[in-house]
């Protein structure tokens, strides 16, 4: 078993308006294998707060949460080695600037594994391996992480977590601030890691196209509540996404528009542009 949320709520105390509850009464389960999950929701819906719970960076204000058999409550338990949890659940933050600090990319990636008492040689090998995994070649090993472009920094920060070899990988908006090509490359990379290692991957994103294209399970947050957990297609069929400050994928929007304006009856639930194109071409023949 991987991560299980039991009615988890988390509140932040703020100076002006007292307690602000970021997530409310959340219950769901993530298994440690074969999961590829998207976590979506509008800005401020509690996605990041939820993600930070997954490797016990913050504790629930109420409710409990089980991570690989360890029960996390609102209080710090001295018997639990939180570092072990963080080795098992790797969390990549949205902005790479928050974690890069060494002079070279190699050293920076080694920081994670070295914290978990792995020998220097092994850590070096891991750094090289994970750097290649995120699509950067060995020449980057000796470069200064601060002289890289935004996308490269992001990849290095992801490599820094991958090198720890976590069982579950959680990524907070890994595709934000990247161009469309870069997005697809990274998403393919995550899918690839998932397919090869069968590790569970949870990705926070705003991009519904990516959600529809890549994922078979989606969690939707709205104002701190978990309002949907399941297949993305079911989500697009059942929920009014605009009400929840979200959007439909472009394929659905385009096909739906064609249906409405031309009065035809296309199947609008197509995952990729190619599938949608086929559907349109099929309709042309008729």
């Amino acid at each position: 078993m991987g991560i299980r949320f039991n009615q988890v709520s988390h509140g932040y105390t703020s100076f002006a308006d007292g307690l602000y509850t970021a997530i409310k009464d959340i219950s769901f389960e993530i298994s440690d294998k074969n999961e590829f999950i998207a976590l979506v929701g509008h800005t401020g819906s509690g996605k990041s707060t939820l993600a930070k719970h997954m490797n016990a960076l913050i504790f629930p204000t109420s409710g409990t949460l089980e991570i690989f058999g360890k029960t996390i409550t609102s209080k710090r338990d001295k018997k639990i080695k939180y570092n072990d949890i963080r080795k098992k659940v790797g969390l990549v933050f949205q902005f790479p600037e928050y974690q890069l600090f060494e002079e070279t990319v190699e050293k920076d990636i080694m920081f994670g594994p070295m914290n978990f008492k792995i020998s220097k040689e092994e850590a070096k090998a891991l750094a090289k391996e994970s750097l290649n995994l995120v699509g950067l070649d060995d020449s980057y090993l000796t470069r200064n992480p601060y002289n890289l472009s935004g996308g490269e920094k992001k990849r290095v920060s992801i490599a820094g977590i991958l090198a720890m070899n976590p069982d579950i990988l959680v990524l907070d908006e890994p595709t934000s601030g990247l161009d469309p090509a870069g997005r697809r490359v990274l998403m393919d990379l995550f899918k690839d890691i998932h397919d090869k290692t069968k590790k569970s991957v949870i990705i926070i994103t705003h991009d519904m196209d990516l959600v529809y294209q890549y994922f078979n399970r989606v969690l939707v947050m709205n104002e701190g509540h978990l309002i949907f957990d399941g297949d993305p297609e079911k989500l697009f069929r059942e929920k009014d996404l605009f009400k929840n400050h979200l959007d439909y994928p472009n394929t659905i929007k385009v096909l739906d528009y064609l249906n409405k304006s031309l009065g035809i009856n296309l199947d609008i639930y197509k995952r990729t542009i190619e599938e949608a194109l086929l559907e349109i071409k099929g309709a042309e023949k008729l």
């Binding site: 100076f15 930070k52 490797n55 960076l57 913050i58 710090r76 080695k81 939180y82 570092n83 963080r86 080795k87 790797g90 969390l91 990549v92 933050f93 902005f95 600037e97 928050y98 974690q99 890069l100 600090f101 060494e102 920081f111 994670g112 914290n115 978990f116 601060y146 820094g160 977590i161 720890m164």
Partner: protein
């Protein structure tokens, strides 16, 4: 972090909120000077009463101010104790021997453990610290059986020591209360604007009060931001196994670097962004600027200034007499 009240503005509607920041700064300054001029303990006690009265008049929550005093309490207690111990003038009030025996050591250890345990399970940390200090004294004084480790030493308290220590503590209390009132009721931006206006005449001798005020207000503005950023960095590094609450000291030192470097880099990024944002809104250092909120004086300000002036004059008169 959140319990420290100095420098924290709390929105409210009392009298002090309506005063001009310039008035408040001047008044606090004058009152502080007069507090230092008072020489008799009665005068100081009256001054303390007046300070409390001011809190009541300004409808400021006294409990908040007392809570804010907590971090400074340690300082106050230390000054109190040192004044008592080191001042050797006037009549002797208390005089007796102190013993330090094996049993004393044992009792001290017990008291220490009791203190730590009580602090862990109850909320009144401060009270227990106090009790601990008192118990040290009592143990040193009364536990006199057993093998002495060091020679019995003389413990004396002099009359002047007591008066001086009370004096210093009350003085500090008044000063802290006054400055707390100032910072509680004045927005940091207003405060810097007031300072800027007050120091404006110094421009003639080459002191650029506007830049100075800007530096202060920007640094104040960025304290919570930087604090937030530090928190995020800590979490990002904790995700990579650098947990600051676990691990050995040697590891912790290495982990501190992982915090400091991103901290500096982010501070630089932030300041560059801010500079660009300010310049794109036509900020030119040294050029005259208009403000949305101009400071205005009212009859209240005149009254407050008169009040603080009369206190100062009174203290001078009392000192001369």
């Amino acid at each position: 972090m959140k319990s420290v009240i100095i420098g924290q503005y709390i929105p409210g509607k009392g009298l002090f909120y309506k005063l001009d920041p310039r008035t408040k700064i001047i008044a606090v300054f004058l009152l502080m000077v007069s507090v230092f001029l008072f020489e008799r303990i009665e005068q100081l006690l009256i001054a303390l009463g007046v300070a409390t009265l001011l809190l009541l008049v300004g409808k400021i929550n006294i409990i908040r101010v007392i809570k804010g005093l907590k971090p400074i309490m340690i300082l106050l207690i230390f000054t109190f104790i040192f004044q008592i111990m080191l001042n050797k003038q006037g009549q002797k009030v208390v005089e007796h021997d102190m013993y330090f025996t094996l049993f004393t050591l044992l009792f001290l250890v017990i008291a220490f453990i009791l203190w730590r345990v009580m602090v862990k399970i109850t909320k009144f940390r401060f009270t227990f610290f106090f009790l601990f200090v008192i118990s040290i004294y009592l143990i040193l004084r009364y536990v006199d059986y057993g093998q002495t480790i060091i020679q019995p030493f003389n413990f004396t308290i002099y009359e002047d020591g007591i008066t001086m220590s009370i004096f210093v503590v009350i003085r500090l209390l008044i000063i802290i209360t006054l400055s707390t009132v100032l910072t509680l009721t004045t927005k940091p931006t207003d405060l810097t604007q007031g300072l800027e206006k007050l120091m404006h005449p110094l421009k003639k001798i080459g002191f650029d009060s506007e830049s100075f005020a800007l530096i202060i207000s920007i640094s104040l503005r960025y304290i919570p931001t930087i604090f937030d950023e530090a928190n995020k960095i800590m979490m990002a590094q904790a995700s990579r196994g650098a947990d600051f609450s676990e691990g050995k000291l040697k590891d912790k030192l290495r982990q501190v670097i992982s915090l400091l470097v991103p901290m500096f880099i982010i501070a630089f990024i932030r300041s560059e962004e801010l500079a660009n944002a300010m310049e794109s809104r036509n900020f030119v250092p040294g050029e005259p600027r208009t403000r949305i909120h101009e400071l205005t004086m009212s009859y209240r300000d005149t009254l407050a200034t008169l009040f603080s002036f009369s206190v100062l004059i009174l203290s001078i008169v009392l000192k001369v007499i």
